[in-house]
């Protein structure tokens, strides 16, 4: 049964219970580390193991991770809940009262393209603190990176060469809950999407908000023409939805309205939301141009993703903007990333998992991006002590629990510009929608190879 104290608004959980936003085992392990006096520094890497149907990922979600680490503490309400679980001792719960995150965090800036095995975030902190943060960090960074990585593909498909075609996020209604729709709007904007229909996200992140009208508005009026007339009266520069009954009849009514209003007609465009969008766009364009409405824009929506947009543009559909919903907002063709948060070091010794394919690279790292003529040609995952020449991707964003200058929240516009600039440096084959067979060269430095082998041998001797 719902605990009425828990959620101030349906769809949220409150600040009071934020420290409980974790897997139970993080808390039982935290108590074990505390009981055993294990408080030495651990290194945890957050990385993605495989790309699957992406040529690169666009890192996103760091800002929320840092906010969480800054604010992490146990409220009385959280402690009361834990006390009721019969697994936690009173002295441990007392110790939790003063718990805070005191570690260092290194991270790739949001909006940076990344590749498998490269740490997006490296947490260097007393082991219990770093362990507890795993679940929230994975949750936010996996999701936001997944959405940014999907949205950048949609933007690439829509913009083609240097077109000005617009892309709007229309996905909130079928995203996975409220937080998803907030963070996806943010991630999509970073990836180059122009606006969102999500008003709360507009408010929270200062994003451009956009929208047209729904079929229900048309249907509630006595006729489509009445609905168009009323809506354009109130919102002169609106976009009219023309497919409620029959798309081409709808377009003709828009033209009729233009003739009716003469110089007062300021409607910016029409939206197509069903049927063969390429054919309908062409026929609509022809009718609009014929009527002298050459500035009227044509927007399209309805089950769009990067592949459908490419298909429409390959057919030379005269579409000026796309409303992209569910398939972008759930990253429907790949609704998860194979992300991991792995212990790489403890008490000064590199650590790793040996079994099966789920291993990790031991020790602290730096990722170096190497360029030729302005194009990224190779990344090297190096030991932090021994980086080869090139641009370092990991920055220290938090020191002893406090944000460094590199960790100060960045304006979304600047993250978006960073993303566009970094994506522009990628080879064309990675920016294409289809999977690049050649892929991208991610190498281990010699020192990293050496440490990997050394750690493996040590573990095989001692396990």
């Amino acid at each position: 049964m719902m605990n009425s104290d828990a959620a101030p608004f349906p769809g949220t959980f409150g600040e009071e219970t934020a420290p409980l936003y974790t897997d139970l085992y993080q808390l039982t392990m935290l108590q074990a580390y505390w009981r055993e006096g294990m408080d030495e520094t651990a290194v945890f890497d957050l990385f993605v193991r495989r790309l699957k149907d992406r040529n690169y990922l666009l890192a996103c979600g760091l800002e929320q991770a840092l906010e969480y680490l800054e604010e992490l503490s146990f409220s009385e309400e959280a402690l009361t809940y834990l006390a009721a679980q019969d697994q936690f001792s009173d002295d441990f719960l007392t110790w939790l009262e003063d718990f805070e995150f005191t570690g260092d965090v290194y991270a790739v800036p949001e909006g940076t393209p990344v590749f498998p095995d490269e740490p997006l975030v490296e947490v260097v902190a007393p082991i219990g603190e770093a362990q507890l943060a795993e679940t929230f960090l994975l949750n936010q960074i996996t999701f936001q990176t997944m959405i940014a990585s999907k949205a950048v593909r949609v933007v690439e498909a829509a913009r083609g060469g240097d077109s000005e075609r617009l892309v709007a996020d229309f996905g909130m209604r079928r995203m996975h809950g409220t937080d998803a729709s907030m963070k996806a709007a943010r991630a999509a904007y970073i990836a180059g999407v122009d606006a969102t229909s999500n008003v709360a996200a507009g408010q929270a992140y200062d994003l451009p908000i956009t929208g047209t009208m729904a079929h229900s508005y048309i249907e509630a009026h006595d006729s489509e023409m009445d609905a168009f007339r009323e809506f354009a009266e109130l919102y002169p520069e609106t976009i009219l939805l023309v497919d409620t009954y029959d798309t081409i009849s709808g377009v003709k009514k828009v033209i009729e309205l233009a003739e009716e209003k003469g110089d007062d007609f300021q409607v910016r465009g029409i939206r197509l939301d069903s049927g063969d969008l390429a054919e309908l766009a062409k026929e609509s364009r022809r009718l609009l141009d014929q009527a002298g409405l050459t500035d009227m824009m044509i927007f399209a929506s309805s089950g769009l993703d990067e592949y459908k947009i490419r298909g429409l543009l390959d057919r030379e559909a005269p579409i000026d903007g796309f409303g992209v919903g569910t398939k972008m907002g759930t990253s429907a063709d790949q609704p998860t990333l194979d992300s991991a948060y792995k212990l790489c070091g403890y008490a000064g010794t590199p650590r790793m998992k040996l079994s099966s394919k789920k291993s990790n690279l031991p020790g602290r790292k730096q990722v170096i991006r190497q360029y030729e003529n302005g194009t990224a040609v190779r990344d090297v995952i190096a030991t932090v002590e021994d980086p080869p020449p090139g641009a370092s991707l990991l920055e220290r964003v938090m020191a002893r629990g406090t944000r460094t200058e590199a960790g100060v929240p960045r304006p979304l516009e600047s993250i978006r510009e960073h993303a566009a600039a970094r994506v522009a440096e990628l080879p064309d084959r990675l920016r294409a929608l289809d999977r690049s067979e050649k892929g991208y060269d991610v190498a281990l430095s010699d020192a990293m190879e050496g440490r990997l082998e050394e750690t493996r041998q040590r573990l095989e001797r001692t396990m």
Copy 2:
């Protein structure tokens, strides 16, 4: 840039901005309806158009929808944001100050199996109110229904006949944001999952919470044996993770620990998290039994879903419980439902959309489930005035903005029992994992057929 007033905790948005949790066009249409004096009663249906790879859906999310409708109002903060958008007039914003939801809501109880075109929720309210609620209702009910519908399959696969095999939700780290992981834990529990690793969900919904240990805990210790010994000392009835270095060696260490501790050994089980789980489970079982540890349970995790669980059990893997994560928590094979919220009536007249395949059934409805020998054999979507014999699925849960007795929050246990009982009434072919070719018979009543045809003809004359 993040508006620091907006989110009290990263991953949430506050009560203050809840009314903004909608698509912009809902607000522009609301103003248009208000300006035009259109305040007559509308009927909106929330339904799913297609099942795709499911044989039925398990309705879920109504409780959060009702909480939202009960609390829907515009705070000063929300109004200030809207005032800054240059689309909303002062008199409209003043009117919004007193806005509340005053309508009726009819709904299928949570945990009820439903089929395409059947309304999960029917909102009957002044059109602007019903319109505004679209986005939140779709967001919550689509997601929760999708997860419950996936989780019930996982449970069917794990339990097989009448086994006691446990299923735990381990998915929070890769679910889509914080709200998803809260609501998914709730939906999965309703569907029959036994526990969640999500502590915040445990607290908010009073769910059983569970967890074992992570590889990092093992790796941080000097040896696997040390880690097992320490963890079992603190948590005598724990489950030990045996695959960090080599699964069979891990099992042997557990046996060693049992010998070491003798009668004090109370460890409940081991967890396998990589490799060929069926083979490893058989070998582990053999070793444990040989050592007299016949009560030790074997838990498995690692990329599980209903198909992998079936595969393991088909190979007679002696597994007693499954930790199921990402694939259940994102409904990875079908990460969205084709849900819709459509105007079916306004001012006493049935309404519908004509174009292409995205139509809807006009007017108010009842869904009747008909049984033969205790098995559901047919649903009939009927006009509300003319229901055929059978069990009515839609109940009035809200009247004039207030919950009715049927709408009072139900204990999660009782929703879970309702779900189990209703699923047990379905034909076996629908409960199977594979898509039933025969499917289920969902008919329209004669009166509904008549209304559909009549409405279509009227619209074709007048559009």
